[in-house]
């Protein structure tokens, strides 16, 4: 063998002699140059392609990196031994041609095989991403290379197995779908498909989302066509059977008079397989016997009822779980309009004394929210007879008021209540100090709110009786029967005195993580009501014939509540920096409200601006207060100034000094709108180098308790500023800033006895809150709900969804 440069070849003998002589030296040189053997860790995809020629000379076997000619390639591939001298270039000496006798060539591994072999090894070692790169590369340069297809399939199956084991079923499914498209009969594919499909479906079935599970199968089937795995049919058959059995069980329960069990089974069957034969008729029959209404929600009910002021879920649930002595019905010319479900207010409406005459079943009218008063119940001959009505005597009501005042939860009530005079069993006078709109202070629950952990009523406890054991249990419309991550069941309290004959026996709240899923559920009839419609869904829903979209009576005010225990957030310059750093106008326009909705606007204060300039809800709003704009450069400057200020204070107090901006935590509700807004806020603040970590408020969580978050995104229901100002900013209120200016302004407001001066006091509070950025105002939102047209009896503009729930019914 002779290795030579492309010099003239003189004679075969000479060539051979020289070749052997030179081989050793040449090979030594090649070894030294490092071009002999392809190292295992070479990245084949990032260096020039080469082939490997293994030669044997003088008993030594050497593998060379070379680029063989196309002719040799063809001969070798044709499995016909080359006849003449093999000529090639070494990969690191391009342009120089070398020759070697075919006798010395033990093997040639072409570049394609090198890549393929590497890919196989990577697949075997679990380096799937890298394996895919090699296979993809080879598919590009030699799509028909022998063995490539098999390697690809092997890779797909093994990678899918790996992803399934990592609980990443969705990705596993994509890989298997690709394998299915290449070879539907590939060994092990069907088994793996079944396992992956099980995993995928379990994600939905675990939360009871059969619609998503069915949808998944439909989508797979349409995607895979004839090659759909058998598992799809198996699952469908299983569900059909399950739904059929549930429907049968429901029929049996119905026949035995076990209405709730019948409804639960039928409801479950409709979720699993709505097309189950006879199910529709069964549900219709059940509705007349055990009316049940399913409500779609994007924020799960929050059983921490007393936080309804800033938690949508708690606000909604509170009307379902308890009635209040006075309930807000809407804005009036001077303060809100209130109604008392258990008594008639007699005497002078503008007096500081509220005279109540408790209903006794002798005279009166229905309460304004459509729900009956206790008197109506007594007169109507409903299922609850007048003798069964357990109305609390006036003394009990008085005690409830006093307890609320002394609880410390309502500083305004505690400050204003002077005395209560009980006049016999059915009348009482509640006297306040000089106070405007005293009814607003009596928005106290008639039922003692339960702790979250005792809110779910065990069957043993029975309806209408619980550990409270008070007479006021009669004012609890519904009881929580069960609560899971996906849904909450509320059953009618059999002892509820204000119930109507056709009042729903059960309300089921189903939780959807975003508005799109919730809207879809409404459209297909899975739920009859959607408690909140995201602004961007309003247009599409309004265009549907069988859907009615309505507005709530009062807007919500979205704010960030700062945690004053945090040294930075206790600094008003820093809070102002945050405000300047959030592009509220853009977030409102781009993320929240696509169309122009009157009343949805950026506001810079703690009170509602209403939907128009003459909206009575606007009475506390100071129009002179300008809205701060988006000024990121100013925000950054102020934030640094605030940090410096805080550091100085800490240093002088001998406290640990805050180094740089710590990551702030923001808790936000779990609906899509809040999530989107929080994400946009996070992005904006990242621009000014303030890191925000988002956290969704969990079911029944009280995010303001324990000061665990730096900021809480809250949609406030500030419907009566004259008393809500105290609930927000008073000692022990929502935001305990400790500002002496604010406390002084609140004290002044407390003393105002005329509306004009009270408005001025409220405007001053607006100015102070704006100046000190007591809370970080975002925007005002006008909220909507949507119902299917078969739901009847809804109030036109409720303040909360369940206002008037006593009159809801499904029917023509």
């Amino acid at each position: 063998m002779r290795f030579t440069s492309a010099a003239p070849i003189e004679s075969a003998t000479v060539r051979l002699a020289v070749a052997y002589r030179l081989t050793a030296a040449f090979l030594a040189a090649l070894f030294a140059a490092g071009t002999v053997v392809a190292q295992q860790d070479d990245n084949l995809l990032e260096i020039d392609p080469f082939d490997e020629i293994t030669v044997e000379a003088e008993g030594k076997i050497t593998t060379l990196r070379a680029v063989v000619t196309e002719e040799i390639r063809k001969q070798w591939q044709a499995d016909s031994p080359p006849t003449g001298t093999l000529r090639f270039e070494l990969s690191d000496r391009p342009g120089q041609l070398y020759e070697v006798s075919p006798d010395h060539v033990r093997s040639i591994t072409f570049y394609e095989d090198l890549v393929l072999n590497r890919a196989n090894k990577l697949t075997a070692s679990g380096a799937y991403d890298n394996a895919f790169r090699h296979l993809e590369h080879l598919s590009g340069v030699a799509p028909d290379w022998p063995g490539l297809s098999d390697s690809f399939k092997d890779y797909l199956l093994k990678h899918a197995q790996y992803e399934r084991e990592k609980n990443n079923s969705q990705y596993a499914f994509v890989l298997l779908a690709e394998l299915q498209s290449q070879d539907s009969r590939y060994a092990g594919l069907e088994d793996e498909f079944t396992l992956v499909l099980d995993g995928l479906l379990q994600e939905h079935l675990r939360v009871g989302d059969f619609y998503a599970a069915r949808n998944l199968l439909d989508s797979l089937e349409s995607q895979l066509g004839e090659n759909s795995p058998q598992a799809i049919s198996v699952w469908r058959a299983r569900w059909r059977e399950e739904a059929r059995q549930l429907a049968n069980a429901s029929e049996a329960h119905l026949a035995a008079g076990r209405l709730r069990e019948a409804m639960l089974d039928a409801h479950q069957a409709s979720l699993i397989w709505p097309e189950t034969e006879g199910l529709g008729t069964l549900i219709d029959r059940l509705q007349s016997n055990y009316p049940t209404i399913t409500v779609g929600v994007t924020q799960p009910v929050n059983l921490a009822g007393k936080d309804g002021f800033y938690l949508w879920g708690a606000r909604r649930g509170s009307r379902l779980l308890l009635r209040h002595l006075f309930e807000f019905r809407g804005a009036g010319p001077e303060g809100g309009i209130y109604e008392c479900p258990i008594a008639e207010r007699v005497g002078d409406d503008i007096s500081n004394t509220i005279q109540l005459k408790l209903w006794t079943g002798e005279a009166g009218t229905a309460s304004g929210d459509g729900s009956p008063s206790s008197r109506d119940i007594a007169e109507s001959g409903n299922s609850i007879s007048s003798s069964e009505i357990r109305l609390p005597p006036a003394g009990e009501v008085a005690r409830r008021i006093v307890a609320a005042a002394e609880s410390g939860n309502d500083p305004a009530l505690a400050a204003s209540l002077l005395e209560i005079h009980v006049d016999g069993v059915h009348a009482l006078d509640v006297r306040f100090g000089d106070r405007l709109c005293p009814e607003s202070l009596l928005r106290i629950p008639l039922v003692v709110p339960r702790a979250v952990d005792e809110s779910v009523d065990s069957p043993a406890r029975g309806h209408g009786a619980n550990s409270n054991g008070a007479k006021f249990e009669a004012y609890r419309p519904f009881l929580v029967a069960s609560q899971t991550k996906k849904q909450t069941h509320f059953v009618k309290n059999a002892g509820y005195v204000l119930a109507t004959e056709n009042m729903p026996s059960e309300i089921i709240e189903r939780y959807y993580p975003n508005s799109t899923a919730a809207v879809s559920a409404l459209l297909r009839g899975e739920v009859a009501i959607l408690d909140y419609v995201a602004p961007h869904d309003l247009g599409s829903l309004r265009s549907k014939d069988h859907i009615v979209v309505k507005k709530y009576a009062a807007p919500t005010l979205h704010v960030l509540i700062p945690n004053y225990q945090s040294p930075l957030l206790a600094n008003h310059v820093f809070r102002r920096a945050l405000l300047y750093g959030i592009n509220r106008q853009r977030i409102l326009r781009d993320n929240l409200v696509a169309a122009d909705i009157p009343g949805c606007e950026v506001v810079d204060g703690p009170f509602p601006a209403g939907e128009s300039f003459d909206d009575p809800l606007r009475y506390a709003f100071d129009s002179q207060v300008s809205v701060r704009g988006y000024e990121p450069a100013l925000a950054m400057t102020l934030a640094r100034a605030a940090l410096f200020q805080v550091q100085q204070e800490q240093e002088s107090a001998g406290q640990p000094v805050t180094e740089g901006f710590p990551a702030l935590t923001l808790a936000h509700p779990s609906d899509g709108v809040s999530r989107s807004a929080a994400e946009a806020i996070r992005r904006d603040l990242a621009e000014i180098k303030i890191d925000l970590q988002l956290s969704e408020i969990g079911p029944n969580e009280r995010p303001l308790a324990n000061n665990q978050y730096d900021l809480v995104y809250a949609p406030l229901s500030v419907w009566e500023p004259i008393s809500d100002a105290e609930r927000m900013f008073g000692a022990g209120g929502l935001v305990d800033s400790g500002s002496p200016y604010l406390l002084e302004a609140l004290a002044t407001l407390r003393q105002e006895t005329a509306w004009p001066s009270a408005r001025e006091a409220l405007k001053r509070i607006h100015q102070i809150v704006h100046r000190e950025v007591t809370l970080i105002p975002l925007w005002q939102m006008v909220d909507h709900y949507a119902i299917r047209d078969e739901l009847k009896g809804m109030m036109d503009k409720p303040t909360v969804l369940y206002q008037g729930v006593e009159n809801w019914r499904i029917g023509p």
Partner: protein, 481 residues
Amino acid sequence: MSGVNAIPMNRFRSQLRTAVLLAVGVLITLPKTAFAEEDSPSLEWTQRPYKVQLRLGVGSPRILSEHETDEILRWLDDRIELLVSASWLTTIASAGSSSCYGATAYGTTEMQSGDPPPEAGQYDKSICIDISLDRNVFTITAREWDAAARLWGSAVRRRVTQPQLLPWMVEEVVLQSFAPVARMEILNQKESRLRLRAGGLPLRDSDLQFIPEETVFLPVHRRTNSEGHVQTQIVPHTLLRAVASDGDSVTSEVYSSLRSPFALRSLGRTELIAVAVRAVPGTTSLRLTSNSTPPSALEGFEVFAAGLVNASLEKLGMTDRSGRISITAGPRPLRLLYIKHGARYLARLPIIPGRVSEIEFSLSSDQDRLRAEGWITSFHEQLVDVVARREVLIAGIEASVENSDKDQARKLLDRLKQLPGRYELMQEMRSQRQIFSGTSERSDPYIDRMLAETETLITTQFDPERIGRVETDVLGLTARF
């Protein structure tokens, strides 16, 4: 045993104790009755011993036998002789099976003015000791009445389960409840000298200290009218903290919320005395009220505690709706509180947390001042924003000039010129000053000072020439291109 069983003090002592007394010295070994006989106004105050009456009640029905009671009384007598000796001329008596009047019968155990116990007689100090038993636990309570200040001291309590320990506990509560009295000499606004009664008489036990470090005294005005009737009055919101001891006198620092706490217009002879406070560290509720009629609770007033040694301030909290805040004991018995509303400190108040359960403190209404201050604070925030905006814009203009970006420079300059300048800010200040002067009959020097400082701030920070220089740079850039 019925009635009061007094034990004569000049009875026979044991040989051992006599030996000890003799060893101490002739003066100290003289019978105490000799002091009583010599006790006269002519005797130097610091050399005058206290006439102390100790009365022990053992409950009704009595929980200790006569013999047990006598044992305790004898022990007490011996121990006082051994520890205190000449400083006290002691009479020890049993109150029999009834509770000792005063120790617990007042409904409160706080230091307060009140009527003397019936048997107080001519004693300087009457210490009532009461022993009660509940669920096998003896509670021993002692409380002294000081005749000079006409003050009941704070009750001192101990609990014990073993009856054998009762004599030791009784001794302890007696010594703990005893509050020395001093005549007070005002040295200056901040210091006074307290000349201790019996301070010139040595205590036999050198370890016994009636004036330990950080002892706080309560100053009392004592007035004797022409008819010889004595009236006393605690100097309000004032306390004295002992800082140095010099034999029979103690130097004390004066802490008071009043400018001239010791000024008193009165007829007759007046003197200032001070009584040591023997309170157990605890919590006192401070209630702030307005001095208007009727008084109203002052909410939202911040309360700070000042360090007595260094000048550090610790925020204790804010008064609630009822004007209250709980003050807990600090590292020293005396806490000096500062009361702040808005940005202004309104008062300082020394208290001993635990001495009384609640202290009410009146302040004048400062609503107008607070509103004015709120406006000025708000104006300062506005200035901060304007300054920050201006600096951001100037930096942008300078960068644009460097990059020869004349369009951007002009754009930023236009925005810079739109910011309020010195003239506009001054105008706003002046118009607001007029509003302030209209809300109050007389101008508040504090607000005047804040306004003046703000005007100075505007003058220095808002130099129109600075904007002029930036404008010149931009014009120069425009001219070049």
